[in-house]
Amino acid sequence: MSAIDASKSSLNLKSWLAEHGIDRLLFLVIPAFLAMLTFFIYPTIYGTYLSFHPMDKSGALGNYRSFFGDPYMRDSIWNTFRIALPVSVINVFAAIPLAVRLRHRVRGKRTINTLLVIPMSLGTVLIAEGLSAYLAPNGWLNRTLLATGIISQPLQLLHNFWGVMISLLITGFPFAFLLTLSYISGINPKMEEAASTLGATPWQRFRYITFPLLTPGLAITFCLNFVLAFSVFPSANLLGNPAGDSHVLAVAAAQAISSKYDYSMASAISVITGVLELAVVAIVLIMRSRLYSGSTSGGKG
């Protein structure tokens, strides 16, 4: 009797485990989980803890009070947004026409793709170095523009807002383009054909069919680009004016460590950065959830 009961309950347990997707394959998750724990979860918790314990023992919120109390520090939030928001918007919208054009088989598609993706593989520091030579008052760009008479004074593109902006556009665009291309390739081209037989011109097909189906993907593309641009550090330092209008949050945190050895303050700035990033991403995702975000294949459901 009891043997039967025992086998029955072990059967129940087995089917319960199977039902909830628990099997031996789950062990494969362990390395990734350990890595997350060691390199992400623990540092995050420790950093947050640290941020509430200021060096000057001014109470749990001391770091935050002094950050928001100091106009120079407070402005770093605005400095970061002023760069990250336009860069992400421009990258996403610049990627759309190119992705629309390259979604079908086009001659030289591979070459164009490669050219577009190269900046991504070079790394921000290398690009920043290259740009600092290229954009300098006596660099190629200014010399060409001066020689052709388009400008009479060299453009000031380094050690200010524009330098950072240009470098982030170059590094962020390939990301935006590749993501947009994959989203757009997932839209069944038959739907545009159907729209055309219903009288829609190419622009109307994009406006009413492709774009609405692409928007959820664009929201994700924007978020990823925004997060990348928001934590800008190398290009702000190398191409911007880290003491002035490129005094972004990442620079502020780094300076807290390098000039004052104030790990606690740096942690507080990181926490502020994270919260702001999360807030923007949350707003975008909430807006996205109100859009249609189902299948874009247009076949049978």
């Binding site: 054909e193 055309s196 459901g301």
Partner: protein
């Protein structure tokens, strides 16, 4: 319902090649207003290519298309005013049924009250009033199909093009939708070009069939014409003439009486198709045209090999003494191994030139 009447849609030598492979060659066809034409053929025969050329989704490599006197093959699809129903429906997933159907009218800047009225009429016509505010992914295949049809006809197009619209539905629904399409065509009188690989569908819907093979037109005719008198052995094979027998046409034949022979089979045919000459020919006989009875003429002695029960009748495979296999459909219940006799009326024996296929 069609607002601008045209008299005829004229395809003149329409051809389309993809690189070196020719998908459609030299299709010439005149379609009258209100006509229902089916393009029929196996996959890869060029029928969908022809439809896409008509819709303007594929440019022609040669030939031209005219609507009455006006050349239209140079117009982009949005300026042709041809409605199209796609094989996988291609409904807009982010729009409701109502918005899907109203899309064409909205694009044409039709006044709002008129859109409302016409969309409602179209929804009633395809019997979707209960589902008007759902999204396509909440509908069954048959319902999606109705939306696709309503979306194409609500713009009152000159011509409706349908690309295998029933191929994704199950057998029962396919029959229902077939009657539905027939009814819509009768009620609205819209000129329709319908692509299918299903001969039964084509026979039951169309006023005229165009049978295609390898990008070339094989036969154009009424369903009865194509079914009863396939013009060559390819069309015969495709229309269900399952028995294709190599035979010899004997000399001395005259109208109504041509003698044929093969190992052990002697037949008389009442006519032959052009190109069939004395010597080797291909004979086509439909399983339904073979009768289980002993006759003095066209008698074939045989033994029953297999029997498949198919509801209203049996599909039977018999073999002659020489081992030649013949397919028969008969309501008569036979036994495996039974010896029996087949006969066929001379006018149901199709004689084609040997090398036609």
């Amino acid at each position: 319902m069609s607002k601008q009447h045209f008299n005829e849609l004229h395809l003149k030598g329409v051809s389309r090649a993809f690189g070196k492979s020719v998908a459609l060659s030299n299709l010439s066809l005149t379609i009258g207003n209100g006509e229902f034409v089916a393009l029929l053929g196996p996959s890869g025969c060029g029928k969908s290519t022809a439809l896409n050329c008509l819709a303007g989704l594929l440019p022609l490599t040669a030939g031209s298309i005219y609507l009455d006197g006006r050349r239209i093959d140079t117009l982009p699809p949005e300026r042709r005013d041809f409605g199209m129903v796609f094989q996988n429906y291609a409904l807009f997933p982010h729009l409701t049924v109502r918005q899907n159907i109203g899309f064409g009218l909205k694009i044409k800047k039709t006044p709002k009250p008129e859109i409302e009225r016409r969309v409602n009429a179209a929804i009633d016509l395809v019997q979707l009033s209960l589902h008007a505010d759902k999204h396509p992914n909440q509908l069954s295949g048959g319902q999606q199909q109705r939306v696709a049809i309503a979306r194409a006809i609500v713009i009152e197009p000159q011509v409706v093009l349908m690309d295998e619209p029933l191929s994704n539905l199950d057998a029962k629904l396919r029959h229902e939708m077939r009657s539905e399409i027939k009814r819509l065509h009768r009620e609205l009188g819209l000129t329709t070009v319908y692509v299918t690989h299903d001969q039964e569908e084509a026979l039951s819907l169309a006023d005229r069939l165009v049978v295609l093979h390898d990008g070339k037109v094989q036969q154009i005719g009424t369903p009865e014409d194509v079914y009863m008198n396939p013009i060559n052995s390819f069309v015969a094979d495709f229309m269900g003439y399952r028995n294709l027998i190599s035979m010899e046409l004997l000399a001395g034949g005259s109208a109504n009486k041509y003698s044929l022979t093969s190992s052990g089979i002697e037949l008389t045919a009442s006519g032959i198709f052009s190109g069939a000459t004395v010597g080797k020919v291909l004979v086509a006989i439909r399983p339904e045209d073979l009768l289980i009875e002993k006759s003095s003429k066209n008698n074939i002695a045989c033994t029953v090999k297999t029997i498949e029960y198919q509801g209203k009748d049996f599909a039977v495979e018999v073999s002659t003494e020489q081992g030649f296999v013949i397919y028969v459909r008969t309501p008569i219940r036979l036994e495996i191994g039974e010896k029996t006799n087949l006969t066929v009326r001379p006018e149901r024996v199709m004689v084609y030139p040997e090398s036609n296929n």
